[in-house]
Each structure stands twice: as structure tokens, then as C-alpha cells.
Amino acid sequence: MIKSFFCFILIVLLFQESASGQFYFFGRNKVQYDQFDWKILRTENFDIYYYDDMGEIAEIGGAYAEEIYDELKERLNHVVTRRIPLIFYNTSLHFQQTNITPFLIPESVRGFFEFLKGRVVIPSTGSLKDFRHVIRHEIVHVFMVNKIFRIQRDRRLPTGALPPLWFVEGLAEYLSTEIDAQAEMVMRDAVINNYFVGIKEMYRIYGTFLMYKEGQFFLEFVDEVYGKDKIPLFLDNFWMHSDFNKVIEYTLGKNIDEIDSEWSFHLKRKYYPLLKDNAPLEHGAEKLTNWGFNFNPVHYKHNGTDYLYFIANRDGYSSLYRLAAEREGNKMNDPELVLRGERKEEFESFHLFQPSLDVSKDGIVLFVTKTGGTDAIHFYSIKENSVIHRYQNDDLISITSPKFSSDGKRLVFQAVDRKGFSDIFLLFTDNDSLVRLTNDYCNDRTPSFGLTDDHILFSSDRTAGRVEQKYNLFFIDINTRRIEYITYADFNHYSPVLSPGKDKLFFTTDFGGVRNVWSMEISENGYDGTIDQVTNFITSAFDPSFIDNETIAFTGFEKFSFNLYKLNLTNVDITDSLIYPPIDLSGSSGRWFASKLGLEEGRRQIKYEKEYTLDYAQSQITTDPIFGTRGGAIFSLSDLLGDDNFFFLIYNTADVQSDFLKSFNVAIQRINLAKRVNYGYGVFHFSGRRYDIRETEEFFFERSFGGFFLLNFPLSKFSRIEAAVTVANSDKQVIAGVIERKAMLVSNTLAYVVDNSLWGPTGPLDGVRARLLLGFTGDVKFSNVNYFTVIADYRHYFRLGFASAVAFRSTLQYNEGKEARRYFMGGSWDLRGWPRWSIRGEKLWLTSLELRFPLINQLRIKFPFIDIGFFHIRGAAFFDAGGAWDKEYRYTLGSIGTGVRINILNAVVLRYDIGKKIERDFTKLQPGLFYQFFFGWDF
């Protein structure tokens, strides 16, 4: 369906996963389910990294890359003089395993350009058209960044600056693709529903898909009205002004208000006439949902009630829902959660933007989720209210569009295999035997059973001839494997499905600019009847399915939201509908063939060898009158795929020259992420004065050196086991020559970590985070140090509403033994109101209860010279209690209060709390109030 839709969607912005991976206290895991055998394909300007059986897709991708390189060198009058690394993955699922970025990649991201080393990382999703688009898009980024760097450097100006994101992405879209049905749909919706914003207010839609498309449309507008030569001039003139709006003004010779006004008028004149003949979804069909992102409705009658099962993200998690299709009165029915996704490995994620649901006559719901390293088809019994079967195949990475045959004994679906081919497969449900029906790089999609169960209808870009690579409708005979064209037109057709009476074929097509539902009469000869428009919406309708012979349900896009709608076909009366052009199948045989680089076999097989290059380096030298001159450096290296990472730290703390050699602090660490089991090891030497966190609050001198080894085994995206061994020689001088302690410390820890939390703007709002760690630290040489460690930390977030929750935390940190290290708490992160880190002990417990709620969603301050906006300001009411002790329990402390949190640019959260401490062993409230300001995410 809308497979390549939203790169960034609203819900992703609102609810971020705890972004980083497995080397933190909590955090979800980036699991390396597969080990890839990487190879390199060298083209004239690119080094293409691919693996396993992806050779053909890599060659096609290489041809696409060279094609856009050739175009851009002319369009932008620029060449990139370094070789550009392009890293291809065969599916989005494999792409999510990349270590080139340490962050977890949302399913909706279709590729990225990494600025640090200039790497372009792109998954093939089965559609070469989409693959080409993303390759082009990312290479535009490479050219733009490189050109701006050159322009700035030529003038000896700072080279880090870039245009605003809306322009960066808009330019990439403008130069990589044309206005398609998706772009048209989004802009129609924005203009007609009055949420279109001009250039001056682009910050309001920062990072959204709408921003991408508005950027693209703006440049199309400039191209049309001012000339396409103005587009590269935006870059050529970039250096002139730090305010990019001034660059636009200078380039177009008008002020920004005039330009905004012209553009707005241009769009309104284009789209307002649609209101004459096309209907908004709300008026043309019955709306069934009104919140979130809802997709792929399928009908089943259960206990006399018509239900629609569908996939939706209504609260931050993608899940399976059902909804009574008939309203009672005017009130919309509330959907009922059937299965929760994104909480455990079995249903790691539902694929929202792809059709992945069907239901059989006997009440088996088929749905697809990512389960481990590949997709799986789950069989959910409505009657038994449980998943009764699961089909998963290691060679089929990504699965979509499962559809039952009429007898329910077979199902057909689309899958992308290890070669990156998107093809049609047939599964026999009684024995899970699989038959592959197509096998090529054409994108065969949205299959369903035809007039008989021996015919499979599907949409494909295999169209050859004069309308090459358009998505047309086809059918394949299962027995002969013969593929026949049903349509042959210069626009795209998707989601063919027969009516229950098998007298009409319904599908969607973008004929007319956006996707609408159309139908074809089935004649005696088969699929050659007349074609009529069923819906004529301003925006789009997707994935029609039947409730009965006269009613369809579908997904519709309107007001920047996907909702479910139903339409009674007997009420359809489109007098001004478009006329589908007569189908002319001449020239419609066979399939199209993609251009490839056509390199020799030997050149394709260059094996990837690790080459380490610098990721970052930072050094600093400071001079002050007390500590003299000090310096240090930190830098890291990694290989091109980011699998193998080295970190180096060096600094010196000597106060006098004679201490120089022994005052080096050095740490070298290697972290390998290439396999499922991540490991790391390193050596260190630390020397210098340490702050004594025992009672004395004095410094002591300690010199320690040793090594460590880390192991990390992710059980799934949500849980992992960690193990660590550290060996360190420690010499501690509390008073030089008087109180000294030598030790050869060996420390072993084993931990189990769970995290399926869902994050709001300032911290988790749903799910669980937990960590249980057991450890032992001993001095194997002098027995000066021997203690064991238990850390148990459990956090549970109970959702109250869309953006409010009660958060609970319970923590025990326990060291017992000789010279056990102390823990500490106090401050805004744990026991609020108490001085930061003032409560110390070898044992510590802490519990917190916090109500998190939205306070102000948007606060804008308009100064005469600039607008400043603050978003998602959150409130909290909290209660904390805890205590710390060494040998004997001392007292319990606590606090109650309320606070405000503000997320600043998604980088830091500022927190301000007011409350009362609970003092004297939890017996008395502080007389006044405490006020505490700090930074940090909610627990």
C-alpha cells in the first residue's frame, strides 16, 4: 500500500524509542540477527557495499547512482571528488541492523546520508522505483553538502553551515523524483485543510513528511515561475547570508513575504477548484475512526456483529485492533485492542504502512509482524482469542499482503527475499509448504485470489513497453505460471480485490493525481469489462476491502491523518468522474529490464576488508593559574560499516614535571558490533586525585591500571544479557606513606536488562524498564577488597492518556563486603529536594512515584526580531523515598513536590521542581519549600 510513506511521522516524533543501543544502563537493542558477507562493487564514482546474494540489485543500484551523479554534475555544476560509499541492504529489516549509525532506525526511514564520513546507507525494499528514488535523494544530499562546503571553503568561511532542513530535504526530493500521488495527496490536504505553512513558518512542521513535500513543492514553484536556473543559485548564494530566507530573497529578487504570498496563491489556485468535483473524505464516506494512524481494515462477522480488524498506531505502539463497523447513533465506536505490538519479540513491530492483514471465513486473522530477524505471518483465531500458528521463513525477510484463498487452505503473499527481490508466494496452510510464483526484480505486490483459487491477481511494476515500469494489474495462473496483463496504462494501479459476488474487480489507481477506488466489471471473458470510478476524493483512499457486496471499508488520508472509512456502493453517484482511458494491451507482453552496470563477475566479488578511519577527534589544552597547563585528547576510529570501533582517551594530570610520566591517563577500548554477540575489551591506566565519596569529602591519590572484557547478548530488541570482567591493579594513597591500600581487583558482573518503554518528550510514558545485576569484586592478591553487588532497578510506566502516565521506580543497590564502593543519590534525578549526591552508602534503596502530564503543548513568544517557540512543556507531581547506609540502616528520607520539564531541541530536558523534603526518618515535612533546577530526562 503506502509502503514508502512518511519518513517522519507525527507519532514517531511524539513517541521516540530510547534511541541508543545496548551499551547503556537501559535502552533497546540493535540486534544483529544476520551475519553478512560484505562485498564491494566499484563504479566510476561510487564504492557500493552489498552482501550475500544482492549482486544484481547492487548492479542496478550502481547504475542508478551513476545516472544521478551525471545529472547532478550538470544541474548543480559540481563534482564530488571523493569516492562516495553507498551501503545497500536488501530490506528495511536488514537496514535496521546497520551499525553505521548507533541509533535505532525507525521502520519508516528509507535511507540516510551520514555526514561524518559521507556514507549513504539505503535499503532496497523490493521496489526498484523506490530504491532509485532514495538513491537519488541521498546523493543529492551528498552533492549539496559537498558543494556548500566548497563554496564556504573557497571564501574561507566556516564550513559547517547548511540550509534549513526543509530546503535540504526539499531539494533532495525536487532533484530525485517528480510530484507523485503521495506528494499530491499531502499537498492537496494541507492546502485545502489550511495547515499549509509558508517558508517563514516552516519550523512549525520541522522534520515531518509535510516539510519534505512543501520543500519539494516550493522548488517546483520556483522552477515554474522563476526558472530552474534559480535552484542551483540558492546554493551558489548560500554563503552570502546566515539567514537562508535572505538568500532566497536575494536569489529571487523579492522579499520573503511576497514570495510566500505568491507561492500560497499559486497552490490555492491549483487546488481550490478540486472542491467543485471532488469530495473530502469526511463528506464522501462514513468515517469510522478519528484518531491516530489506522490502516488496512478487514471484515469479520462475530457473534452477529460486523467487526473491522485493523492495524493502527493510536497510542505510540503499533497494534492490532478491532472496531464494530456499525455505529450506534452518531457516536463513533471505540476501537478495542486485540494484540499489543512493540512490547515483546514475537510482535516486535507491525508494519503500519504496508497491507499486512486478512481474515478467513472461519475467523482466522492473518497479520504480519517483525519477529526476530525476519517478518512472520501470525494466525490469530478470533474464536480462541489467541495466536494459533506462526509462519516464518529465514529466506523471506520482509512479508506483506497475506490473503486467504476462498477455502482458507492457501494463502498468497508478497515477500522480499535475500536477493532483494519482491515476489509472490503461495503457502499451503495445512503443511506450511511454500511455492514461489514469481522470481525477478520486478516489484510484485498486493496479491489476492482471483475468480478461481488458481488465479492470483496482483499489482506489479513489471509493465513493459510504452508505459514501462508503471504499476499495472496482472494475474498469474498458478498451474502454468503464465502472467497476463489486466490493465496497461500510464498510471499506477494497486490492491486488486474481487467483490464477494466475484462480479467486479476493485482496485486503487492514481489516475487523476491521487489514489482513488475504481472497479472493473468482470465479463464472461474475464477481466476485460468497463472500468468505473468508485470514489473521487480530494486526497486518497487505500486498500479497499468488502464488508458485504454493497459496502467497502478502506483507509483514507485527510487532515494529515489516516483513518478508516466505509462506503455504501449503492449510494455512489459520481457524475463528474474521470473517464478511464480504453485499455489497449498492444505492446504489453513480457516485463521491463533494468539497466545494470554490467561489470565483470570478477569485479563484483571484491571482498570487503576493514579499513579504519577517524570518526571524531577532540583535543584540548588549557592553562590556568592554579593547575597550570593541562591537555588531553579523545578520538575514535571505526571501519566503514561501523561494526568495529576503537576508542582512545588520553590526558595527563601532572602538576609538576616529575609526575609527568606516571600521570598519564590512557584508555583504549574496542567494541565489536558485527555479530549478535557484541563484545568489547580494552586496557586503561588512570592516575590522579580522586574525590572520596565516603564521609571525608577529601581527595586521595589512586593509580589503577588493568583491562576489561565485555559481552553483550541481545535476546531481542527488548532484552539482553550483559557480562563484564575487569582486572585492575589499584594503588590508593589516602595520606601518602601513612594510609595506603594496594589491591589486584577482579570484578565480574552479570546483568539482565529489559526495556520496552515508549518515550514522550521528556521521558518514558509507557512500558517497562528493568535491570538486575549481580557482581563480585575481589582483591586476588592482598585480599584488601572483597564485596558482592546486587543492583535491581525496576521502572514501570502506566499510561493514563495519550500523553500522561504514572511512573513507578523501585531501586535497590547493594554492596556488601570489605571496602565496598558506595552509591549515592540526592538531586533532581533521584531523591529530589536533597543536595545532589549527598546521600551515600554501600547500600541504597529508592522508590519514586510520579504523575506525568502535559502542561503546555506550545508556547510561542514573538519578539520584534525573532519568534521563539517552546513545545511539549510537561508537568509532574512526584513522591520519592529512599535511604542509604553502610552497615546499619540509618534513616528514610523522602520528598514530595511538583515540577515542570521542557525539552530543548530534543537534546536536553530542563527540569524545575518545587516541593517539600520529608525529613527526620520520614516523620516530618520540611518547614519551607525546596527549589531545584537541573537537566536530564525523566526516570
Binding site: E74, V79, R150, D154, R156, G253, T623, G631
Partner: protein, 382 residues
């Protein structure tokens, strides 16, 4: 770490400060100049042609580096002095034989234009585009002093033309200025057409192309706009004059030959890709390249293709025609040497950056420039 307070650290800092304080001075002793390459394209018609004797083998003799990046201009010479502008607001003077830097002038803004040389004077324009102003500088390098600096309330991106009694230049908003060598304004003519096209002059006619696709001719005698004629898309390339024709490339990929008197198109040749360079010409043919990397030789009279060669490069700077050869710098980090008559590639010299400057042959040496302000001199090997 007190050890870092040592002499090396201090010396390093001192060197760093000294480097940043290099004096803005060019003061060189020159006898009465005999040999001169005074402007971009050598002559007001912008021919990019020389009858120098060349060979197909080039031996690098020196490489110099200036502060900022280069534009698609060229170096100029007076005897053994080489002058070059850069985008960081500097004009450098090298000894053209040894590559030694003899001095530099630092001014505010960027210097887009090739320095023009006259007697002991270097004339150039610095532009502060953010403030929409430029300064015309007259500098006496024999005395090391600025003679005159004139504020121009406009931006100047395109190259100046030296004529007998002064210099002519064109501003971005389409005003043609003429100054004498003392820095006195002779006239200004407002054409009111935004432009980034380097003008050329033949007799009393100056022609340039506008960003709106108009061809504009200015009569320098009557000080008026002769005509404006819409003939294409945006013009980024400059023009070149022959006796009866004016040639100019367009962003739509076409090379136009027009009548200088009325702007009528005599012929047009579609190269299929953007043209941003000024064409070079000999007696019978013009030669130009486009951004797709194809070089064309077209007969001046008929507009018929003599040959074309797709080099897979990107061409912005006019080629130099010399001794039956064609020298052209390629953005794709190459200097190409082609046979002028057949277009056959004879030699390809890789560069350490994108080729920028139009090659110039002076005193039997070839000078080019590429990324990061690199100036390279070659000797011909016979």
C-alpha cells in the same frame, strides 16, 4: 603539564599569529613592461587564443597556493609577474618563473574578477555581496600603494575589460561602468538586467547576457542601451566577439551566434546541457564545453559541428586555443589537451582538485589553477 609552557609552544603560537598578520602589500621593481597579458581573454573581444608554439608534453615546474578559492577566471601577467584573485578577498602576485609569492593585497569581501594590468598598476574589484557593494581598486605595485579605491553600490561578479583609455565592468544589476586609469568615472549606463555574464567589447559595442535570458547590447559611444533581446534561458556564460558575430552560450544548452548590431540570431547549436563558459575562438571556429563534459568545435560562419568529444568532465572555464591544441581545465580534476582540428584527446593530466582557471600561456609556460587556490605552472617539453 607545565612543560607545555615551553619555547616550542610559544613559538608555535607566535608563528600562528604571524601567519595571520601577513602584510597587505605588493611592491616589486619592474622595468618598463614589455610583455603583458592584461585581462581575462587577453583582448576585449575575449578570444582565448594565442599563437604560441606548444608541445603535447607538459612538465610541472612550480605550484603555488593562495588563500581562498578560485573562480572561473584566469591569471594575468606583466613581464615576470603573475597576478591572481581569490574569493577570500586577496590578490596575489607571484614570480611567474619561480612561483615565489612576491606579495598579496587583502581587501574586504571577495575578488571575483581577474586582476587587470596596466603599466605598473593592478586594477581589481572586491565585492561585499552581503552589503550589496563593491570597491574598485587601483594599486600601484611599483610603489606598493593604492592609488584610488572607489565604492560601487552594487555587486560585481564578472570580469573587467581593459580598453585603451580605461576599464569597463558590469555589475550584477546590469549597470555598465567605465573608469579611466586614474580612477575617475567616465560614464555609467543602466541596462537594468540582472546578470552574471562576463561581457565582451568590440569597438563601441559591449554585449552581455542576462539572468532572464535577454541579450543586452550597450553602445559605449552614445552611452545607451542599443537593444535587449530575449533569446534564451538564463545566461551564465560570457560572450566572445568576432568581427561580425557575437557568440554566447545559454543555460538551455544552446550556443548562439548573433549579429552584434541587432541581436538577430544567425545560428544556434544545441549542445544538450548547460553552458556556463565563454567560448574560445580562432579564425574559423569556436570551441566550447558544457556541464555534461562534451567539448564542441563549431564553424563560426555556419554553426556546423566540426567535432565533439565527450570527456565525462564538467567544463566551466573557456579553453585556450594555442598551436593547434586545445587546453581546458575540467572540474572533474583534470587538465585536458586536445587536438584543435579533430577533438582527439592527446593528453590528460590529473589535478589535485577541480580545475578552475582558464589556462594561459605566457613566456612559453602554461598556467592553470584548481581547488584550494592552487596555481600550477608547466613547461612545454619538446
Amino acid at each position: 603539564m607545565g612543560f607545555l609552557k615551553n619555547r616550542f609552544f610559544i613559538l608555535f603560537l607566535f608563528t600562528l599569529i604571524l601567519y595571520g598578520c601577513a602584510p597587505s602589500l605588493i611592491k616589486v621593481e619592474v622595468r618598463a613592461p614589455e610583455n603583458i597579458h592584461p585581462m581575462f581573454g587577453q583582448v576585449p573581444e575575449r578570444l582565448f587564443y594565442t599563437d604560441a608554439v606548444v608541445s603535447d608534453s607538459l612538465i610541472p615546474i612550480w605550484r603555488g597556493e593562495i588563500n581562498g578559492g578560485l573562480t572561473n577566471t584566469s591569471v594575468t601577467f606583466i613581464d615576470s609577474l603573475l597576478f591572481i584573485n581569490d574569493l577570500s578577498g586577496r590578490v596575489f602576485c607571484f614570480n611567474s618563473e619561480t612561483g615565489k609569492v612576491l606579495g598579496q593585497l587583502k581587501v574586504k569581501g571577495s575578488v571575483y574578477t581577474t586582476p587587470v594590468l596596466h603599466d605598473y598598476m593592478v586594477i581589481f574589484i572586491s565585492t561585499e555581496a552581503q552589503d550589496n557593494k563593491s570597491t574598485l581598486h587601483f594599486y600601484d605595485f611599483s610603489n606598493g600603494k593604492f592609488i584610488n579605491e572607489i565604492l560601487i553600490r552594487d555587486i560585481v561578479y564578472t570580469d573587467m575589460i581593459k580598453i585603451q583609455d580605461g576599464v569597463i565592468f558590469l555589475t550584477e544589476s546590469g549597470t555598465v561602468y567605465k573608469y579611466n586609469f586614474r580612477g575617475e568615472e567616465i560614464f555609467s549606463i543602466q541596462a537594468n538586467v540582472r546578470t552574471r555574464s562576463t561581457p565582451a567589447v568590440n569597438g563601441s559595442t559591449l554585449i552581455f547576457g542576462g539572468l532572464d535570458g535577454q541579450l543586452v547590447a550597450v553602445d559605449l559611444t552614445s552611452k545607451s542601451v542599443k537593444y535587449k533581446k530575449q533569446i534564451g534561458s538564463s545566461f551564465f556564460s560570457g560572450g566572445t566577439f568576432s568581427s561580425e558575430m557575437f557568440f554566447i552560450g545559454n543555460d538551455n544548452g544552446k550556443m548562439y551566434a548573433v549579429k552584434p548590431d541587432n541581436g538577430d540570431i544567425i545560428w544556434e547549436y544545441d549542445s544538450g546541457a548547460r553552458i556556463t563558459m565563454t567560448a574560445s575562438q580562432s579564425d574559423k571556429n569556436i570551441v566550447f564545453g558544457n556541464l555534461k563534459g562534451t567539448i564542441y568545435s563549431i564553424s563560426k560562419s555556419e554553426g556546423v559541428l566540426n567535432w565533439q568529444n565527450n570527456t565525462n568532465g564538467v567544463f566551466n572555464s573557456p579553453p585556450l586555443i594555442a598551436g593547434g591544441r586545445l587546453f581546458i581545465t575540467d572540474l572533474n580534476r583534470k587538465l585536458l589537451l586536445l587536438d584543435y582540428y579533430s577533438g582527439k584527446l592527446i593528453n590528460e593530466i590529473p589535478l589535485n582538485g577541480r580545475g578552475k582557471l582558464t589556462p594561459v600561456i605566457f613566456n612559453n609556460k602554461l598556467y592553470i589553477g584548481f581547488d584550494d587556490g592552487q596555481i600550477q605552472a608547466y613547461e612545454f617539453y619538446y
